[in-house]
Amino acid sequence: MNLVAGLIAASVRHRWMVLFLTLLAAVGGVFATQRMTFDAFPDITNVQVQILTTAAGLGSEEVEMLVTLPVERSLGGVDGITELRSISRPGVSSVTAVFEDGTDRWLARQKVKEQVDIARGEIPESAGTPELAPPTTGLGEVFQFTVGSDSMQPHELYRVFERDIAPRLRSIEGVVEVNAWGGAIPQVDVRLDPYALVAHNISMTEVASALEDAVAITSAGDLSSGEERASVRASSNPETPEALADIVVRSDSNGAVLLGQLGTVGMGGGLTVGLGTADGEGEVIFAMVQLLAGADALSVVEEVRATLPQITAAIPTDVHIDPIYDREKLVGSTLETVSHSLLEGALLVVFILLLLLGNLRAGLLVASVIPLSMLGAFVGLAALGFSGNLMSLGAVDFGLIVDGTIVVVESILAMQLVGQSHRQNVVKTTQAVTRPVLFAVGILILVYLPVLMMSGTEGKLFRPMAVTVLFALVTALFLSFTYIPAAASLLLKPTGEHHTFVVRLLRRVYDPVMRRLQSFPKTVASLAAVWIVVSLALVMTLGVEFVPRLEEGDLVVQTARLPSISPQMAAQEVARIERILGSFPEVERVASRTGSPALATDPMGLEETDILIRLRPRDEWQAESTEALATAMATRLAVDAPGPEYTFTQPIEMRFNELLEGITADVGIQIHGHDLDELLALGQRYAAELDTIPGAADVTAPTVDGMPGVDIQIDSMALAAADLDAAAIHQMVAAVQRGVTVGSWRRGQYQEPIVLTLDIRQSTALADLPIVLPQGGHMTLGDVATVVETTTPAAIRRAGGSRRVTVQANVRGRDLGSFVEEARSRIDAVERPQGTWISWAGKYEQLQAAALRTAVSVPLVLFLIVVVLYYAFGAWRPAWLIFLNVPAAASGGVLALVARGLPLSMSAIVGFIALFGVAVMNGIVLLSRTRELHKNGTSQQAAIRSASERFRPVLTTALVAGVGFVPMAIATGMGAEVQRPLATVVIGGLCTSTPLTLLVLPTLYGWWFADEDVTAEDAPPDPLLPGTLV
């Protein structure tokens, strides 16, 4: 206290210096703010490193065996990995290593990279090269656009994209990758007619060898001549496909056989694992600008938007770039909502201050602390690496922040001049309120501790908010003891016990009521108890929502089909859906991405499509809400585009779900093993078992969609008899669709591969594919191999080093703990095949952990509050009396939620925490004075007098805290859904806790503390300055 007292005195003594330093700090804060990053929401992605491999043409089992397993094995011993999971799909492998929260992202990447470099040696060249996914997060997809052309082929468009568009965007600071769905990597397609090969008795190997020789470059080193030298090289690089078609494959006495006689040569595109479509008009390239983890979304998007016109000017005129998703829209709208709420809240606070204090200067002085404390919060956020977003900035209540300041300014305004200088009076008055202000703000800080202790997703969402509030509170507190007394000594003139018209009017009602209630303490106590019990009982009627769904302003429709769908059919069907969605008046544009991007950051199969819907501004809508719009779309799609399964989500929400890939049900049994059929069968048995347990709902057995396949099993005996080698057969099979790369030709600084494929008709049975024999003549593939039609899994998921399937169930009408206990014993009783094991997961883990944390942290904090109150008052009874404000405040919050039909969510719980802080603070403000006065009289006298004296500060702090939240409570803009429950709880809670503080508390004090009454002769003189409010 002495330290603070000294600080106050010094601040007033050097007031100009303090004001100058405050200004300087503000300027510094403004600069720090400019270094701050802004985004719409906090990043809830865990620290993970993805290892991606694209192996177009390989089936899921081959991908798992050739790529996923070596990568997984290499990561086995990496320190800090908490989860290692993978998914193998046709053509794509994705291994995700999740590290402990708090691990440095770059260190994690470094560790993974070292191991993956080792794994590369085990992976065949034809199975692709594993690469680390770009260091981005769930918020990374900041700008998405389509690249289309009316005249270009997909491979020509891709060439433009890769040469002229992507590199320009990748060079923008903060952009880590520009990833694309669709288009096709340009290549020279040599499509050999297998019947022409037979006719000319030429094998594929012979063609491949001729091509390799025909397109080559050889360096001969330097040729020295006298004092100089010249490098020598030989090259053959046909200029056109026609020139390549003229190369001689074989020449003998019968003449020459040219490549063109064996098939066709032309430019084409490589196999794709993804497709892009837009506006129902067919294929385009769907491109996505990905943000570097930690970079500023807003500035990056701005630069991307500025760069696009320059790019457009430099590419062919019939190539058009059309944005489909722009994070600026969301960030801008969210920040606008937040700014509006904050600005309106600040203005309302100033207005309330004017109304209750009746002094413009005092109001403005308090108001000036708002931006200064926010600058302090910005500096803190920037220093800790948090971004400015809806959660970190959207829940700041200026009323709450400046409560301490209000008490200081109010006391200075109301101080009586006692003959000392104005400066000394200011110092003494401020020093006198130091203790209650410190305790009050200390309690506010204390109540935010459980928020800081949150972990998991809710921690990532709400911790930044708590950090913001704490930094702002600490800044405001510091300013209240430095800047405020310094400025007040210059600006404020004390007005003594001057009350504004509003306060006088309210007191005219309040004083008689409060005095009257003193006569009926038991009735008041009973009524208060009944009120609290009844309203708290209403909690049971509230719905529960973990975190409110954040409105992003755009929609995503995810579709899932049968995995056997062909790329052409997929494109055709998606275009159909796009046309349907595009016909809604609320929709501005529709574009889709099917399958995986070139760098498979999102490993989807061709059967899966994300349809991104860019919505028009809300005021142009016919639908009442996003939910109504989604329902209308779903209904229309079910009728006009039946077949796929539709899921409506939002861009960021979808990405978070993909990256976190958690089990969404209450309970999940993960079954691990090696034989997928065995796992699926066991999954079915477990699901049946769970279904019989009381309370089980939505039990889902594991399914793995099958993908038709053709298995060619080579018969080595038959090969030997035909004098063939297996390599030739493998080469031939590879050429059926994927192709065999036999070199590349050079086009300026780029190279384009030459790929041999067999020109096979759709109808050709693979078993009848002719093979040229080395000694002449031919056989069919079916003569040297068995061709079997099979079904392979469309996706193989692995975790913990083995294949994994999951059984999920929700629990209704029963507590989760007992359900899990029963389920465990029942499942353990089911016999498991050797080599399989299970692990339990699901939301119940999160909920149990959250419940455990809450069970520890909330009572701890409540206990700490009581301890602080005890320390403030030196006795337990006043501490517990003030503590009554907590349930009283909670009752109002619950009623407000019920009245507005809002569910109980983490957002509302954070609101309760803030509310408890304000409620307890008001109790301190009132009871600190009551205790002082009690020393000079009876408990009832003290209660009545203190209530009368503290009416204005209590009402002021409660009103400004409540009114500060009003804009958030009624906001409807983007992001308002997160602020709404929080603000509603605080406003509702203050509506009940303030009357309790002002009416019930004095009544109860007069009744319960009568035994502490002292006689007049024992009474010491009143230590406080007469007329001082606090």
Partner: protein, 339 residues
């Protein structure tokens, strides 16, 4: 409260029933086909000349081929110039004709003198007869040599134009420009344009290819010709595990033409042709949707062959309609129903 009572009394208004999706517009159906012959398999094929119709031509004389006037595939008639030859044999013949002409002239003069003398009785009748015999021998030898020379064609000097003695199509030319031996076959002429199509049929297909087969041949240049089976080899080739089957056509097909042939056989009663677009796979086995858009039914089939457009299947009925468009949609809906 009043409002609540009102709502309770009235009940909730019936929600309008969502229209049911219609699949009729998104599917197409066609009847299964039951032709007399059905395509079974597509295999490499080569047109070869029929053995009896082929004539091997050797140059009329040993020497040197200077230039070919024809190339494989050219149609030729009798006396069509085939090639220019330079031949030492021809030079020798010409010299002999010249010698024999001189000797014949000399013998004729001698005979005339002796004939005049014989009238005056100076020369005996026997001497005259001897002179006449000499003349006849010489003239006969000259005529033979001239005839031999005439066989090379109308040529002059040391060169020779080799002309065809047959009508037909030039097949293979075996002798490049350059020296050539006497009696070596240098040119194949397909006299009556008859070719055979040879197809090596893998043994595993033979069971399905009973009865007289037809072959629809598509050459590498894209021309199509129908063939009918004329013979099968007596045994399977052990090395290639295939049986050589030969077909004949009435069309004008170039010997040596290669390409692919779709082999068709008489249809068994339980086999039918369906469009390839009707085929899908359910539960890992080939299947089709039969019935109608309102009541589609998935039916497993066995695929036994087909061509580019059609598949030969067992498992459908002659009266069935199969879905040929919207098959994936029907399959998706069925999968959703199963879930």
């Amino acid at each position: 409260m009043i409002l609540w009572l009102f709502l309770v009394a009235c009940g909730h208004p019936e929600a309008p029933e969502a229209p049911k999706p219609s699949y009729a517009e998104r599917t197409e159906w066609s009847a299964v086909q039951s032709p007399t012959t059905v395509p079974i398999v597509t295999l490499p094929a080569e047109a070869v000349p029929a053995p009896s119709s082929e004539v091997q031509l050797a140059p009329p004389a040993a020497g040197r081929i200077l230039r070919w006037h024809v190339s494989p595939g050219d149609t030729i008639t009798v006396d069509t110039p085939l090639a220019d030859l330079a031949s030492p044999q021809l030079t020798a013949l010409r010299a002999r004709v010249s010698t024999l002409s001189g000797r014949a002239q000399q013998a004729r003069t001698q005979r005339d003198l002796m004939q005049a003398s014989a009238a005056s009785g100076v020369v005996s009748r026997m001497d005259l007869q001897a002179a006449q015999a000499t003349l006849r021998e010489t003239e006969s030898e000259l005529a033979g040599t001239r005839s031999e020379l005439a066989a090379y064609g109308g040529q002059s000097g040391a060169g020779l134009t080799w002309t065809s003695a047959y009508d037909g199509i030039v097949g293979e030319i075996h002798c490049p420009v350059g020296p050539v031996q006497d009696g070596v076959s240098c040119l194949t002429v397909q006299r009556d344009r008859q070719v055979l199509l040879e197809v090596r049929v893998p043994a595993r297909h033979l069971a399905a290819l009973e009865g007289p087969l037809r072959a629809d041949f598509t050459s590498l240049d894209g021309s199509h010709s129908p063939f009918v089976e004329v013979s099968r080899a007596p045994a399977i080739d052990r090395h290639t595990r295939s049986l050589l089957v030969q077909f004949r056509t009435q069309d004008d097909v170039m010997p040596g033409a290669a390409g692919r042939a779709v082999l068709s056989a008489p249809r068994a009663q339980d086999l039918f042709l369906i469009p390839r677009s009707a085929l899908t796979r359910s539960d890992g086995v080939p299947s089709v949707f039969v019935g109608s858009a309102d009541a589609p039914e998935s039916r497993a089939v066995q695929v036994l062959g087909g061509d580019d457009a059609s598949a030969l299947v067992r498992g459908v009925e002659a009266t069935d309609q199969v879905a040929t468009r919207g098959v994936f949609l029907l399959k998706s809906l069925m999968a959703q129903e199963a879930q």
